[in-house]
Symmetry: C2
Subunit: 346 residues, 2 copies
């Protein structure tokens, strides 16, 4: 068993704080397994940009590519113009490494109180497309700053791109007990992209006859998310709708402090990237207040992706046990990390 070569991009704000705890739990989970972790830290984010003007160079990218996986904290800082780090670093990683499956599970763990009065059982996963849609950066503007400015954003959707993520979502649905897939789009308005998504889901359904398919417009999906989240099993959707739905999904299952995600390259032509759904949270950064649980759950996804299923389960069980007993106790980032590591070890 060879060591995991892990690229670590702690990033901005609370990124460093949560990643530290994620690494602690990762190392604890692997101890005694014969598999070690060798980390390479990448200095990417606001500090680097201020110092050098660079977001992610080809050299960075080449170096990252040699790793088995990436653990990312958070990207984005108020001192950097909006979009520079998001587009130039975070999205560039997702696009360059072909992370076309952005996997975001939502589970209401026992002991966790969300904002809903009667949530019922919540356990679904959003398969968010990660390399197309309105995120491609194919927009532009003319006459900027004048009364005649026109600013366009182009959502690009390809049969190639939609089909591969839809097939991945079907496979995930087929492997779950309920075998249910919900396509979320807005095909009554975004007719070209929407119809491509629909036709693709219909076509791929033939390969997965056991999977039940339904469709929701994105606006209606937000309604069900708060009135009947139990109806969801696997959701497949585009990059932007997935962004929106997964923050809402995180909110109803206890908040983004608990929401994990994986940016997966299923073809394994490049390392996949594991990151909490939350951002860099500059308002609480540097104060040991961030909840590292989302990062720790992302570490569980990382372990599973690398085939270390026992270790992945151990981490998820540790989180579940911690959440069950958490109550309203306030702990620092480091304390939560230590407690989770102790459960994994224990």
């Amino acid at each position: 068993a060879r060591d995991i070569q892990l690229a670590v991009v702690a990033g901005d704000g609370i990124g460093t704080e949560v990643v530290e705890q994620g690494l602690l739990v990762l190392e604890t989970a692997l101890s005694g397994s014969g598999v070690g972790v060798v980390t390479t830290e990448f200095d990417l984010g606001a500090r680097r940009w201020h110092a050098t003007g660079e977001t992610l160079t080809d050299t960075d990218l080449d170096a990252i590519r040699t790793h088995d996986a990436i653990l990312l904290g958070a990207i984005g800082d108020p001192t950097v113009p909006s979009g520079v780090l998001e587009r130039g670093l975070l999205l560039k990683l997702r696009f360059a490494l072909d992370h076309y499956v952005n996997l975001r599970p939502s589970k209401l763990f026992p002991g966790v109180t969300g904002p809903l009065a009667n949530p019922g059982e919540v356990d679904f996963v959003v398969v968010r497309e990660g390399t197309e849609g309105p995120y491609v950066g194919n927009g532009g503007a003319i006459r900027v700053g004048t009364p005649h400015e026109v600013a366009n954003e182009v959502s690009v959707n390809t049969a190639f791109g939609v089909e591969r993520v839809v097939r991945d979502a079907f496979a995930r649905a087929a492997a779950r007990p309920r075998k249910k897939l919900t396509l979320v789009h807005k095909h009554n308005v975004l007719v070209h992209a929407g119809h491509l998504w629909r036709r693709t889901v219909d076509a791929v359904n033939a390969e997965f006859p056991d999977v039940t398919v339904d469709y929701l417009h994105v606006d209606a999906a937000t309604i069900f998310m708060v009135t009947n989240p139990s109806r969801f099993d696997v959701i497949v959707t585009d990059n932007l709708f997935g962004d929106i739905l997964t923050d809402l999904a995180a909110a109803i299952t206890g908040g983004i402090g608990l929401a994990a995600s994986a940016n997966i390259n299923p073809d394994r032509t490049a390392p996949s990237m594991f990151e909490p759904v939350h951002g860099s949270a500059p308002d609480i950064a540097g104060r040991g207040k961030a909840d590292p649980t989302a990062t720790v759950l992302s570490v569980a996804m990382l372990l599973e992706h690398l085939g270390l299923n026992a270790q992945a389960s151990a981490v998820e069980s540790a989180v579940a046990a911690d959440l069950a007993e958490r109550g309203s106790r306030v702990r620092s980032t480091a304390e939560v990390g230590k407690d989770l590591a102790a459960r994994v070890a224990g």
Copy 2:
């Protein structure tokens, strides 16, 4: 006082059912005021399309233009290809009549139980841009149905279009006790459109120095919608984000059965259009099960738009009183309409 010339587009599914009750309440509210209602019914929607292939002709549009306002039920039917009626009729009305302010108030009325355990006081309004953004229909596709299909959707945003809706939202915020405006966008990804919206809000803020402005990414906005909806006063946002947020807002304030909306042409160069946020709900259509309250509240917005403020208040008070005593009673569409009309008369 001359009569209101009202264009009635009952539309599809439950549209006819709820519009009937809306008209009953409208006529009741006006009785004794000296102002009457003269309605012209427009046969638009699925039936007409099946019979003639037409969605909205120039003749229809010219006839509608001669009216003071439009009351619309719902558009959309499963027997018509997705997008045909939405784009060819509903959105065509909004675009052709320059309904650039799509106004959607959200209020948690006493007596109404939503899905949130602790909603707090909820009373905000979304000013959704109605004539631009991803709704312009500037998409297209090539190689449709082949593995090489590319389907694009273009969001078009102009300084002209953004500025006028932002100014309207500021004016509304300035007139409310809390004087707070939240811009919702996704400027860290949709940088061109997002920066236009941001710059415009900053610029127009100078004209409304009393108004406090903040900003949320759309994903974060959905979180606050379920964890702290009281934080919102006036939200201004683009066409698609507004679509998504207002369904969610409706859900947390008791459901789309209660959510009213107004498609306003503030320059009064064409009639404004009043419609419930909900759709045609084919699953319950024709069974007297639809709640006409959203349509009745839209009628209140219509009355207010026409300067009939006393009548508008009477309708809103009737709804508030009905909701306060509604409990879990089940009434038919017609019963709710009759009860509301009785309260308005009473």
